[in-house]
Symmetry: C2
Subunit: 309 residues, 2 copies
């Protein structure tokens, strides 16, 4: 890892940035060395998380958002978190459409799947964000499919979290139950020209009104038609409003502290387990698992034996 | 915890089973004692995971599946994993409709949200499955929203994993990218009377054909209309076929071993971190986090300090 490579990353040279992200995806000592070298140069980028179920038009909205931010002179990067494409492990057709859509705009886009990362997808995404932050992008948009805990963690650690819904899921209650409403700073009903858009917005409104904490930030509910670019300008304005509020109330610093706290715990857990198991023979480990599957001993009994060894 | 309580659970008495699940949800020593007492009586239930995005008609299909299994003299329990309803933390309207639908059928149903579990939702679900297994249910249906890593973990640890798709998401590629295809033992296109059902099935078929491992189980692609009960009988047959195959090829035992291995790792990580941090003062911890947010030191430097202390 030459000083030249670090300098290329800091200047945001796309190939260097892409190579750096590949390195942090692979994990291990190389990733650690790189992150440690870049870390002092991070902390400036605005981190915006966008999460929503498949079919809500997330990619289209994120692309439109990136272009609008670009039009406002922001340097924008997108991380599209995609929990492992089947078999191929790589980008599917949809990604290529997106990349073509962004060609020539200077917007950096990267898909990240869940395969082969030591420490899991969340850790790799987090390190990729640090790379983009060090590469002096003004805004990093992190797009996740949402609903699962790992993904919710990624989204909730953004400075501003946008939760996307769309009408036409047939059952609005179901769509709202996705469990990510409470982490939303901004709610968006995309595909707002479809039947049921008002019902979806009303259902979100009703759910917000259940929040007992009236002093907290109340997420605005915006309507967009991402395909036509409608409502995207208002969404960028809403992000700016939230970020201003967030800085004034010191929430940005708190969110960042919570993020690093979670990451430190995760890192410690991985390292502690590795330390503990490094002298355990594979055969011994397998014999423990066999005792459990045979119901001779339970998980807790085995765990106690390992912890006391 | 009286022997009578254990006996009531083993006889599948609904109130005792519900109380036992509440106890494992709360975690801590009580949960551990209960699981250790029940563990020897587990290992017989068939575990079927059903996962799909909101809007695919998952709940309706799971209810129909449970009724068809019930008609075949199976004792059925459902765990509906719902990553935390917003604010309320409890069951929403949709759950009550479902429960009414199942009233009088003898089918046990329980929603589990992600709030307040020590060790996370996956660990609580796993313990709840053990409770239902010890309660002599023949089949435990575990329903998850899918897409996130934690949820994928829950689904992949089932003996048979069903991945649900539905037409009409506008962008078939997107629906397939949910990243759970590769864990599917059976693929279902629900709402098969809608436009695009054949296209969705064809897209799934194409994706399956990308799998280089031709010797492996090839997931059948079934079409259902859960609301009308159409295709549900065939789905129950397909589950039986997969389970027969799975037992013959010893895959069931392998899946179970993998599940316990993951669970043991998780448990060890939690316990090791707790041991390591129990003598760290809160103020010290906060000062480390502050050093990180101020970019004075990086995560890895702090982690090394803690590990070497």
């Amino acid at each position: 890892m030459t000083p030249e490579f670090i300098s290329q990353i800091q200047h945001g040279e796309p190939l260097a940035v892409a190579r750096a992200i590949t390195r942090v995806e692979r994990g291990g000592d190389d990733a650690r060395t790189l992150i440690r070298a870049l870390f002092p140069y991070t902390g400036c980028a605005d981190l915006v998380g966008i999460t929503g179920a498949p079919g809500t038009g997330k990619s289209t909205l994120v692309n439109a958002l990136a272009k609008e931010l670009g039009a406002r002179e922001k340097r924008v990067a997108i991380i599209a978190v995609d929990p492992s494409s089947p078999f191929t492990g790589g980008a599917l057709l949809g990604d290529r459409f997106r990349m073509q859509d962004l060609a020539g705009t200077g917007i950096f886009i990267r898909s990240m799947a869940s395969r082969g990362q030591l420490g899991g997808l969340a850790a790799a995404v987090s390190d990729a964000i640090l790379v983009l932050d060090a590469a002096n992008f003004d805004v990093v948009l992190v797009e996740t499919v949402g609903a699962g805990q790992g993904e919710v963690d990624i989204a909730k650690h953004a400075h501003t979290t946008i939760v996307l819904e769309a009408p036409g899921f047939g059952d609005d209650i179901q769509a709202i139950k996705a469990g990510i409403l409470e982490i939303a700073d901004i709610l968006v009903v995309n595909k707002a020209d479809r039947d049921g858009a008002n019902a979806t917005a009303a259902a979100l409104e009703m759910n917000l009104s259940l929040n007992p904490d009236k002093s907290a930030w109340r997420p605005p509910i915006l309507k967009t038609i991402a395909l036509k670019g409608e409502g995207v300008r208002e969404l960028v304005d809403a992000i700016a409003t939230h970020q201003k509020y967030s800085r004034e109330k010191n929430l940005r610093a708190k969110k960042e502290a919570a993020r690093f706290e979670d990451e430190l715990r995760e890192l410690l857990q991985r390292e502690l387990l590795q330390q503990k198991l490094q002298n355990v023979a594979e055969a011994k480990w397998q014999s423990w698992i066999q005792e459990i599957t045979a119901r001779k001993r339970d998980l807790y009994a085995i765990a106690d034996e390992i912890l006391n060894s």
